[in-house]
Amino acid sequence: MRYRSVLLKFLSALIVFGSWEIAGRIPVSFAFPTFIESMAAFWTLLVDGRMFVAYVETLKPLVVGVLISASLGIGIGLAIGLSRKFDWLVSPIFVVMQTAPLAALIPLLVMVYGIGLTSKVFVVCIMAMPVIVLNTSGAVRNTPASIIEMGQSFLGTRLDVILKIILPAASPIIFAGLRLGVSAGFIGAILSELKITPTGVGDIITYSRSIADYPSMYAAIFSIILLAVIFLNVLERIEEYLFKGSRQTYVSE
C-alpha cells in the first residue's frame, strides 16, 4: 500500500518533468528551457551559495508575515466565530482582503510603508490572513451544538466551553486553514519581491530574466515550488501527529 503510493507519486513526477523536458526540447518558446537545463542551473545556484543567500532574504518577510497572520488570524477568527457583533464588524474586511486585486494594492503599500521589509510583510499578511481567519471562524461556528450544551449542563464556564470544547473541536479545520495560509503566504513573499524590490529569490528570477538566463530563472521558480511542497508536507505530518487517534467524527445514535 505504502509502496504503491510512493510509486504513484514517482510516476506523477515523471509525467510532469517528462512533459517539461519535451516541451523544452520542441521548444514551446525560446524562453522555455528544458527540465535538464533547469536542474543543472539549479545545481549551480545551490553550490555557489546564491540560492542559500537568496532564501535567507526571502524567508524573512515570509516567516514574520506567517507568524503574524497565524496568531492574529486565529485570534480574530475565534472572536468572529464567537460573537455575532464582531462578525458583522470585522468579517467584511477579510472578505474584501481575500478578493482584492493584490497587485493593485502594492503601489499603495509602498507609498505608505516604503520598499522595505514592512511592505513585504504586509503583502504576505494580506495573502495569508484571510483564509486563516475565515477557516477559524467557520470552524468555531460549526462546533456541534450538542457538545456545547453538554459543557453548559455540566457547569462549564464560558471559558471552559471555549478552551475545552470549541477550540479542540475546531482545531483540525483551523490547522487546515493554517496550511492554506502558509501556501498563500509563499505566493505573497515571492510576489512582493517581484513587485516591490527585487531581493532574494525574486531577485534571481528578475536578474536571470534580464540577462536571458532562462534555466536559472526556472530553477528559481522550481525551488519555490519545491520548498512550498516540502513545508506543507511537514505541516501535514504535524497535523497527523496532533490529531491521531481521535478522528473527528461526530457520531450519534
Binding site: S146, S153, K164, P168, V251, E253
Partner: protein, 258 residues
C-alpha cells in the same frame, strides 16, 4: 391507589409551562410534579416535546412562560443538582472514555487523580471496564450511550435527567440496566426523570408514568404503577397489574399512531 403522593415533597415542579420554537408550539400549559426519590417516565409520541421539557428543567432552554422549580428554587440555568444524559450522547470525539466520563467532574474543578478514580468506578458499573482508553469512534452506539450514562452518574447530582438512555443498547443489556436502575432508585435518594419510547420499560421502572399528548404537548394522564413495586425483578414482568397497565397505556397511545 395514590393517596400518599400528596405528602411527598417534590424535587422538581413544572407549572403551566409554554414553549415555542418560532411558529412551532412545542409545549402548551404543561404542568407536572416529580416526587423526590422517585422515578418519573415521560412517555409520548416522537416530536411531542419530551427532550424540550427535559432541557427546560436542565436550564439549557428557557420556557416562554411558566414556573420551573428544583427543590423549591426557580431554575435560572444549569446547576449542580441536575445531571443530563443526552439523547445523542454528546461525547467529545477527541477524548477517550475515561476523560469523557470524568468531564463533568473536570468542569467542576475536581483534580485529576480523584476524578479518574470516580470515573473508573462508574465505567465499571456500566460495563465498560477495559475500554477506558478507547475513543468514541471505536465504540458501538450502545457503548457510547453508556459513556454518557456514566458521565451523568459520576457527578452525583440529586436529579438525573435521562433522555432515552437505553435506546441504543441491546435487549439483554437493556433489561440489566432496567434492573440496575430499579436498585439505584431504591438505594439512593435521587430523583429520576426518564424519557422512553417503550411502554413496558416505562411501567417496569417507574413510580409514575406521565403520558404526553402530541405537539403542543400537555400531560394527558399520570399513571402510578405501585402494586408490584415490592416484587422481585423477574416476577414483575409477569404480574397481572403490570400487564394490565401496559395494555391501558397502549390503548390510550394508539389513538395517536395512525
Amino acid at each position: 391507589m395514590n393517596d400518599k403522593t400528596s405528602d411527598i415533597e417534590n424535587a422538581v415542579s413544572v407549572h403551566n409551562v409554554y414553549k415555542n420554537y418560532g411558529d412551532v408550539e412545542a409545549l402548551r400549559d404543561l404542568s407536572l410534579d416529580f416526587p423526590r426519590g422517585q422515578l418519573t417516565s415521560l412517555l409520548g409520541p416522537s416530536g411531542c416535546g419530551k427532550t424540550t421539557l427535559l432541557k427546560i428543567i436542565a436550564g439549557l432552554l428557557r420556557a416562554n412562560s411558566g414556573e420551573i422549580t428544583v427543590n423549591g428554587q426557580p431554575v435560572a440555568g444549569p446547576g449542580p443538582d441536575r445531571a443530563f444524559v443526552f439523547q445523542d450522547f454528546a461525547l467529545l470525539p477527541w477524548a477517550n472514555v475515561i476523560r469523557n466520563v470524568a468531564f463533568g467532574l473536570e468542569l467542576r474543578g475536581v483534580d485529576r487523580s480523584e476524578r479518574e478514580a470516580i470515573a473508573e468506578k462508574y465505567i465499571g458499573d456500566v460495563g465498560l471496564k477495559g475500554f477506558e482508553k478507547s475513543y468514541p469512534h471505536e465504540l458501538s452506539g450502545g457503548m457510547r450511550q453508556r459513556v454518557g450514562l456514566a458521565r451523568a452518574l459520576s457527578v452525583d447530582s440529586q436529579v438525573l435527567l435521562m433522555d432515552e438512555p437505553f435506546s441504543a443498547v441491546d435487549e439483554q443489556t437493556r433489561r440489566k440496566f432496567q434492573e440496575d436502575l430499579l436498585k439505584l432508585v431504591k438505594n439512593e435518594s435521587k430523583t429520576f426523570i426518564f424519557v422512553t419510547h417503550s411502554i413496558e420499560e416505562a411501567v417496569y421502572v417507574s413510580d409514575q408514568v406521565a403520558i404526553l399528548l402530541p405537539r403542543p404537548s400537555r400531560v394527558s394522564e399520570i399513571i402510578r404503577p405501585e402494586g408490584f413495586r415490592h416484587k422481585d425483578a423477574n416476577s414483575i414482568r409477569r404480574d397481572p397489574e403490570y400487564l394490565d397497565i401496559v395494555d391501558r397505556i397502549w390503548a390510550s397511545l394508539r389513538t395517536y399512531v395512525e
